[in-house]
Amino acid sequence: MSFLFKRNPRTPQEVVRSLNEQISKIDLTNDNHKKYQDDCARFLKQMKVILNGDDETEPQPDQITLLAQEIYQTDCLYYLITNLSKLNFDSRKDVSILFSNLLRRKIGNQSPTVDYLINSKPEIIMLLIKGQVHHEIGLICGSIIRDCIKFEVINSLIIASKVFWNYFGYVQSDIFEVATDSFTTLHDLLTLHKKLVSEFLTSNYDQFNKNINQLIQSKNYVVKRQSVRLLSELVLTRTNQNFLNRYFDDTINLKVVMLLLSDKSKNLQIEGFHIFKFFIAKPKKSQKIMDILIKNKSNFIEFLEKFDLSSLNDSTIIDEKDYVWNEIKKLPEIERL
């Protein structure tokens, strides 16, 4: 039996060190990579036991502290992320669990892991974001990122950085689950911390608007639907007042929404309507917006006549439609010279 014990490091520090060692040895072009992968898997499992306990043992706070400190000191998380795609399929999920465990750990009001990520190794965050688009590890990176951005400082770090705009590309990936997972992250980044996002949207209106409108006009049906949905959510958020004032005065946006209303897809028409109604409901409309509305009055009426919502069983949207319809009827007729 003794040979078994020899291979199993016992203290938390030993586990971390052995893991770091074995990760660096994995070389996928080499035939023996399987052994190192299995070792890593084993050490990751051991870490999980230290953090969460198992059937026999309860987690020990002092052991957890030792483990965490060793992880920060040796930049273990950094090595795990840089080598994520070399790990076993199931070990990758353990990495994600390890992250979320460490993030939840608190000393007083501080999360040592967040401090570490922000102050010592912000590269890890950037690596994770770039990993989102990789089809083997994208979902793992996505879930770790979403765990991280529950902390406002990290959310703030990401939207302030250039890589944030990568997401508008990621969500258009041909790989469905990568695209939708990126979308979930983008959605969280823009909805979790209201005040932060409000400031962000105000100071980055032009760039954001350009990007989201491009998504709405994508040829990919799912991208279209999800991005309109996200936009609806943003304009419905009260703290985003500044953003929506500008948004609903912008004729480009009205044009994009009108294109949605004229889409063949019923679902997109409905999503579009949920934004369009705000253009109509806005008390002080800019002259340019008014001009377009008036010019298209008969088109809108024709659209609303055919816009059947009876199958939805949703009285709110039917009321909204009636309201919009009435408002449009009140518009002045187009002046013909």
């Binding site: 399929f89 199931d90 999920k93 089809h135 083997e136 979902l139 041909d174 790989i175 469905f176 689950e177 939708t180 997972d181 979930t184 032009d206 350009k210 006009q217 040829k219 990919n220 049906y221 799912v222 639907r225 999800q226 004729t251 480009i252 009205l254 044009k255 009108m258 294109l259 209303l261 004229s262 889409d263 063949k264 897809s265 019923k266 679902n267 340019k288 001009d291 377009i292 010019k295 298209n296 088109n299 809108f300 024709e302 659209f303 055919k306 816009f307 059947d308």
Partner: protein, 532 residues
């Protein structure tokens, strides 16, 4: 190892192999490697399932990699459809493999049980629940591997339920807590119950209670079980001709309290699983035996599968289909006039003209749909007028429909289900039956309501059926051809034709109490449980 399919161009789509709650499944080939794959197509525009829900499900299946689980190979959007590419398992499902009869050899049952347990343990360790474990979702490969499929993508329980009421579906595999709490309060232990049902099914040919009760009734009985003995008695576990190990294994799956019910890891250590020490080669051979058995049975019974082939639908075709299908309002474009909008920062944008085109179809077809549109709108206004008179007169009929229709649906469902389980329906046959059922429902309940003649149309239909039966069942002076007709149409166990009239009466009598139970099924159960 990790073959990945990125787009539809990489695939040759072959015949249709199935139809799930979520869409159609085709067999396909990867062009470069000739590897077989299963292609599931989910219609995102028409499916009621929420997009986020589908996303979540796809993420779940993409996170599983185990020999005992059908492998996820890719997923992408094509027009309005989501294509999900999965490993193709060519030996058929346990459900189909049971057509020739139950599996008597407990060794085979134990082998299959072990493989499913490994899959469930893997899922449960990751906090995932299959939710819809049944014989249809357990597949065998021609080399004798057992694979679990269709978890996650099968829609959530609540939506399944409504679907079950309207079409077929059989909830015989559901654990009591799942039936009682349809809002997902259940956990991984629900799968263990279903596993028990599957193994019972292997031995008996049918899941527990299916031979005795219609689905709704079975659900009610299962949900009423309070003690473990209750269910054991209900399915008569003690008198099953099985080994003690197997019996004990089943009883551990059928523990009513989910907390007490054994987990997958625990059952993997059960004697019924561990006592089996046959070599893996031998095991695969035994499992393969089921497939051979089915092939022979197919030959004897001349089962020929009619095959449906995939025809790629162009976007345009699709849209025309919608325009006609949802007849009235849908799918016409309004061409908004955006030509005069000026752009302050337009350099980033395509000109308005071209962007109109990019999001609608090509110019000529837009014209076509416009012509179509005007024709349809005139049609539509006529329909609308008709419809109004209809609704006014409909309320009287509605009451009648309310009382009779659920029962009629129930009968039709039962018929449908019987045929489905016995015949392994092809899609065409399936569709045929659906149309037939619909026609019957329409004839009896919604038969064209004409205000002038009141409901005489419906009476006419009923009388027609009565006279038809009467004429058909006449015993005097029947010639040969009449006899043949009788043989074809009248059930053999109704030799005495007066029985028919009796049964018709009986059916009508049982109407009311059953309806009530069905409509308020959940509430009653929950109340029952609370009062206990």
């Amino acid at each position: 190892m990790s073959t990945r399919v990125f787009s539809g161009e990489e695939l040759t789509v072959c015949e249709q192999v199935g139809k799930g709650g979520f869409g159609v499944v085709y067999r396909g080939l990867i062009k470069t490697t000739n590897e077989e794959v299963a292609i599931k197509q989910i219609d995102l525009e028409n499916d009621q399932t929420d997009l986020y829900e589908i996303n979540k499900e796809i993420q779940i299946i993409s996170e599983c990699r185990l020999p005992q689980i059908t492998r996820f190979m890719g997923c992408f959007v094509k027009n309005y459809k989501l294509w999900v590419i999965m490993e193709f398992v060519n030996g058929g499902s346990l459900f189909e493999l049971l057509f020739p009869g139950p599996v008597q050899d407990e060794k085979i049952i134990s082998i299959i049980a072990k493989e499913i347990l490994i899959a469930l343990e893997y899922l449960h360790n990751q906090g995932k629940i299959h939710r819809d474990l049944k014989s249809q979702n357990i597949l065998l490969s021609s080399s004798g591997e057992v694979k679990l499929t269709d978890f996650g993508v099968s829609t959530q329980l609540s939506s399944n339920f409504s679907r079950r009421n309207t079409t077929v579906g059989t909830p015989y595999w559901m654990a009591p807590e799942v039936i009682l709490n349809n809002n997902g309060g259940h956990n991984s232990k629900a799968d263990m119950w279903s596993l028990g049902c599957c193994l019972y099914e292997l031995f008996q040919g049918k899941p527990p209670l299916q031979n005795q009760y219609p689905p709704m009734k079975a659900l009610r009985y299962i949900s009423r079980c309070i003690k473990d003995e209750d269910f054991a008695q209900l399915i008569d576990l003690d008198s099953l001709q099985i080994s003690d190990n197997f019996r004990d294994f089943l009883s551990k799956c059928f523990i009513i309290d989910p907390k007490e019910r054994f987990s997958a890891s625990k059952l993997l250590k059960h004697k019924f699983i561990t006592k089996n020490t046959t070599s893996s080669v031998e095991q695969q051979k035994l499992v393969k035996g089921l497939i051979t058995r089915k092939h022979l049975w197919d030959q004897e019974n001349h089962v020929l599968k009619t095959q449906k082939f995939y025809l790629p639908t162009e976007m345009v075709e699709n849209q025309q289909k919608w325009a006609t299908e949802e007849s009235e309002e849908n799918a016409e474009t309004i061409k908004f006039d955006i030509s005069t909008i000026s752009y302050s920062n337009s350099s980033d944008y395509p000109s308005p003209k071209s962007s109109t085109h990019s999001s609608s179809v090509s110019p000529p077809s837009t014209l076509d749909t416009e012509v179509e549109t005007t024709r349809q709108t005139t049609d539509f206004s006529k329909k609308k007028a008709n419809y109004q008179t209809l609704t006014e007169n409909n309320s009287k009929q509605k009451n009648l429909v309310k009382t009779v229709q659920p029962e009629l649906n129930r009968i039709l469902n039962k018929v449908f289900h019987k045929l489905e389980t016995r015949n392994n329906l092809s899609t065409e046959q399936y569709d045929l039956l659906v149309t037939l059922n619909q026609t019957i429902v329409e004839l009896f309940t919604f038969s064209n309501y004409d205000p002038k003649s009141n409901s005489s149309n419906k009476i006419l239909v009923c009388q027609y059926v009565k006279y038809f039966l009467k004429e058909l069942t006449k015993t005097e002076n029947v010639d040969n051809s009449r006899l043949m007709l009788q043989k074809m149409i009248i059930p053999s166990d109704m030799k005495n034709f007066s029985d028919i009239n009796e049964t018709i009466k009986l059916k009508k009598k049982t109407n009311d109490p059953l309806d009530e139970i069905e409509s308020s099924l959940f509430e009653t159960w929950i109340n029952e449980m609370k009062s206990n």
